[in-house]
């Protein structure tokens, strides 16, 4: 592969033991573009030393004027209106796809073919088939690939993962997760968006929100074996509905895990008052763990083995203490972090894996994880359409 040399990070200006510099070319400059750029800009001074120094090499978008403004705003070296041109930019070691779902597959596959490391926003693709093609390209490329399931990088979620690791909490009985938002409530009068069109988005609440709940299921609990699902029509809002291209406003599913746990998965865009409420509860043999994204600094834990018995109760753990994930990089205990910091952790992990040739998995989601999430999404849609339980087909 021509660009294979890119995977060997260039060393920084300051010499041998300084962290390497890695050029990033980003596609997209709106919501996710801002979140990713912010993360890249914070890494060099928040981590001491940073795993690598990201260089803001290039930014790409269709609207030349807007992307030029974004270049100035975030400090990218160059801007492009054609991602193919950006992929030819030698300063780009990492291709970061922060664009809508319909511009994931083609650019990522091309980037992989060009030997770039690739970070791609979630959901990885609009279908398992599309995601599968991306995974195959990633395997062929041999570079690092990551699906930006940033909630793996919430300290409280990582703490849950640490607690559950190696079955430390015993058999898991249940996982119930829901991702609730309200932005499609009629009273809020949200305008149109690519997120409401099947062509651009693949699905609605399912791919946008549900995918996070599915990925966390895979991250924390295990493989989802089967789903029995319903969706709700896009009645609350128009979107692509007239053209028959509408998406689900909501879905709900009863799920079974390969190891026997059962539970529910749900996402909706019409839950009044729920701004960004991804929450889950895991009932294991020796503990229950609960999380709510609107209070992301906290993990709620109940321990069956608490001593003495009389003080057993749900612990509101403020995950900002010295021993907690990433806490050292930030502030003293109780000085809470925000949503944006999940991206800082996520990119730090990605850069470390690239710089030190480490594995993205299991802490980060690879394209394989992105593909497996897409397989569950497909199964949910198939179940809702057929009225039958659907066993997830993970075979590529």
């Amino acid at each position: 592969m021509i660009a294979a040399s890119h995977s060997a990070p260039r060393s920084g200006a300051s010499g041998g033991d300084r962290p390497p510099h890695l050029g990033v070319g980003i596609l997209g400059y709106r919501f996710m573009g801002k979140a990713h750029s912010n993360a890249l800009k914070k890494i060099p001074y928040i981590f001491t030393p940073p795993p690598a120094v990201p260089e803001l090499a290039a930014i790409c978008g269709r609207d030349g004027e807007a992307v030029a403004e974004a270049r100035r705003r975030y400090g990218y070296a160059r801007h492009y209106t054609d991602w193919r041109a950006m992929l030819e930019d030698e300063a780009v070691d990492i291709f970061d796809d922060a664009g809508p779902n319909d511009v994931h597959a083609e650019p990522c596959i091309a980037a992989l073919a060009a030997g770039k490391h690739v970070m791609c926003e979630k959901p990885l693709a609009r279908s398992a088939a599309e995601a599968g093609a991306m995974l195959e390209a990633a395997r062929a490329a041999g570079t690092k690939h990551m699906t930006a399931f940033n909630y793996r990088f919430v300290p409280a979620v990582r703490l849950a993962w640490e607690l559950l690791r190696d079955g430390a909490l015993g058999r898991i009985y249940h996982y119930r997760a829901s991702y609730l938002q309200e932005w499609l409530m009629p009273a809020l009068g949200a305008g149109d968006s690519w997120r409401l069109h099947r062509g651009a988005a693949g699905s609605g609440a399912l791919g946008d929100l549900g995918s996070h709940a599915i990925d966390l299921a895979h991250f924390l609990v295990g493989e989802i074996a089967a789903v029995s699902a319903v969706t709700q029509d896009p009645a609350p809002h128009e979107g692509g509905r007239e053209s028959g291209e509408g998406v689900d406003a909501a879905f709900a599913a009863a799920v079974e895990f390969a190891h026997g746990a059962t539970g529910t998965l749900e996402a909706t865009r019409v839950a009044a008052g729920r701004k960004n409420r991804l929450s889950f509860e895991i009932n294991a043999e020796t503990a229950t763990l609960c999380f709510d994204l609107e209070r992301l600094n906290e993990l709620r834990i109940y321990r069956m083995d608490e001593e003495p018995e009389t003080v057993r109760g749900f612990h509101d753990v403020l995950v900002t203490d010295p021993g907690h994930p990433w806490a050292e990089a930030w502030w003293p205990p109780g000085h809470v972090i925000g949503w944006e910091h999940t991206f800082v952790h996520e990119f730090a992990h990605f850069l470390a894996c690239v710089a030190q040739d480490r594995e993205i998995a299991p802490l980060g989601a690879t394209f394989e994880d992105g593909y497996r999430c897409a397989a569950v999404c497909d199964a949910i849609l198939a179940s809702a359409a057929s009225g039958r339980k659907v066993y997830v087909d993970y075979k590529l």
Copy 2:
């Protein structure tokens, strides 16, 4: 009907405008027997005036010594070890079935045939067929019949009903409810119970806990049209498992309502730390309502129409203010009530309906509601067994 005269309540000792006295004969003296007896004993002095004065006429149980002790403890006039004998007691106007599920149908049907008013613990029966026979007997009897879904009588739940009445909160998008307990956790070492045997209980977490969540769905949201469900094997505990007579430790279902709402239903006996957590969330067009039985004095409400917008948030309403359901009967604002008081409200409603010949529905659950709940339970079991969405068959 011979005993029809019983349905005309006898007047009390104090004369014309004093509330009538109604004799109650109860079957069962353990958990539910205690809860019901406590309710009956409180009604005469908590309500001023009470809708009727319940007379503790008789108590029945299989263990003669234990039931005699219970008679003394609660102050019943007589005790029986044969419910048939109790039904012949003329002092018994109301038959209150507080026994296990497998002694619901026969005694209740006999009581109805004897012209008694009947209160029966939930779930009404072990199957829709059994419940249907009870409903038919009730219709034939013409007396009052009620299924003891006491959580309709939590002030916060009644407040939710009042807020939702006549579609006042607009279209309902979602209902998600779960009833979580932990008593079958291996670490707690619960012993055997009739609740773990299919023969006595009909089902496990489904009928015991899930039935409450189903009844509240019918009470607050509307008719459940279809369910897609999974159950979890009774592995965590033995119960009747060896004999193939075990029951579900948990179930989860994606549900569709007749008017289009979707959601989830779930119950489990293996959720560490969840002592008695029945919770629901209803997402409607202009509000979201949330409830948690472990904090039963509170209703959590989000209003889309809150003015000004900047103060919109979930309200923790402490449902103890003068305008709140049943608040007048109790204590000043903030002087919270407990779980047992749901039975006081429930029996007060039942006595009032008997005394004043009013309708149990829609505030209370009739045998028809008990039957409809059983139909949903059957559908859930059928869906879990077949791996298909099952449309609930409500036809008797």
Copy 3:
């Protein structure tokens, strides 16, 4: 003492090992009369066996018609309009003073002189001098005496006491407590009440609400040594204000404990939205304990010695488990109790102490505790008036 024989409880009808019966004569039939009567009526069937069976011997109030109605409502054997006459009733073993503050001292002293056991509502008196006279009478009588600080009998509060016992949580650094209500908010338009007149009440928020916070300080933390206080004028409401007989709407104090802890005490009747919020936080060397009366089934605990460190957090302990105070008498875990049950526990303790000649202290508050609380109240008023720190004078 003539009536000394009363202190030997009469045995019940059922024979030797049955609990004794004790006749109760109560003064007052409104808010507290209802709460006390309810407690007395529940004890015989909630506790198995009960420590004693209270017999509702007599009820007394100034309004003959109203007290007769209360007699019928609660089932007292007789009623009186003169407490002196009631004290001559031989069926009265226990005098229960549930009347306003200005009818505490004289009747209680007379009852003690008549050899009755005495339960008196809080605050014990309108001043330390008045309380001191009551305490002296109690000491002289040799019967049981109790001040009805019922919040010592909240299971969560008792659990806090058990955890703190014998200094088990190490040195205590802080106690901060406040009792917030809203009933005097102008918008609520509360009418006049004896609670707003200095002559009848002694003080306002201080004696009515603050006394609970002070008693819990003595119960849980230790002796209050000094207070530096301010009060707020009764401006928000009229009450006895015109006549110069108004009471404090609120007070706030910085406090020092004899063993070195510091903290704050506060009470108010003008805190919008606070229905009945008595809350405290105790910071000790190895734990913090928090309580809120509006969620009285819960104790919130943080343990410094939690293992592993990463799961340290505030525990919401639902104090309804088998090992928790009084839990056995009630319902299964998570089936919460209400405010009224604190009186059930309180009277059960009192009856047990009378029946078995056990000490009221330290679990219950004696007249000595009532006196000590009054001494702190006096010190708070003196500090507010003088603008100086006042050391509490506990000497009788």
Copy 4:
């Protein structure tokens, strides 16, 4: 003044309507240095357009090697080990004092004399006398001066201010605030720190934590008129104790406001489990407002004028909606921010005031506010020492 020209911001490189560039020279590079630097680095791309573009001109610290490393880490142009030299740097328009309390007065006064705009960390000084000298220098200089009370810049706190503005919530009855931390708990074994020595810090929990609660009182409620306070000896930890130079581990005060409100103020470093809990509650005539820094995205509000009455309750407002303070600069609703962002808002305000010659007050705290806070701190220490209520002396 020679350097007065500095107060006219230099225009940016990009031309006329681009925001001006302002050079910042910072003293201190540890906790506060990091927080301030992070804020400065985020402003240019978070605000569109930013009020001004801060140029990281210089950083100063005593340890040459460490400060050189900090320069590289954060990207400052130059570093100094002598603040006097930094003040002569013409690129420095703004002097930002992020050092310990004992290096506030002299450098800030010098900076003001040099015509710099000055931001100084809180508490402004170790005593009112010291703060007064700084205020006089600021008045003489005519440049912008700000005390870094960053919690005025929490969106929820700003929202509280907006709600209270112009007495919109009616008379204020109470303000109760406490700032609780645990870092001096013996079990945590914190090492020594300048924060434990009176010479360097002035006071302990009072100046470090209490000053925030005092400033918020002034910001939200009004002038504190008098305090009755106690402090707790530094027993829990050693610090400068041996030398008689220890500081308060905690203080508590009953307070009176000029307009009649009463309440409590408290701070401690020995509250187990309280990581960074600054909380307050304001009881006003038509609403109660509550805030807790550990959940800084939320404001809890109770409205007496809520319609209908039955849904009155405390609202948990997630202050991330479009109409909320600073929300537009960040992320969609429910995508919460962190503690660090308070500094971003604070510096954005400061830069805007400098760039557009606007007033720092009332949104930001000036040196006058810093002085007034110091006057309250002095009064608290005087009250604790004398055992008397002390009226705050605000006269310079």
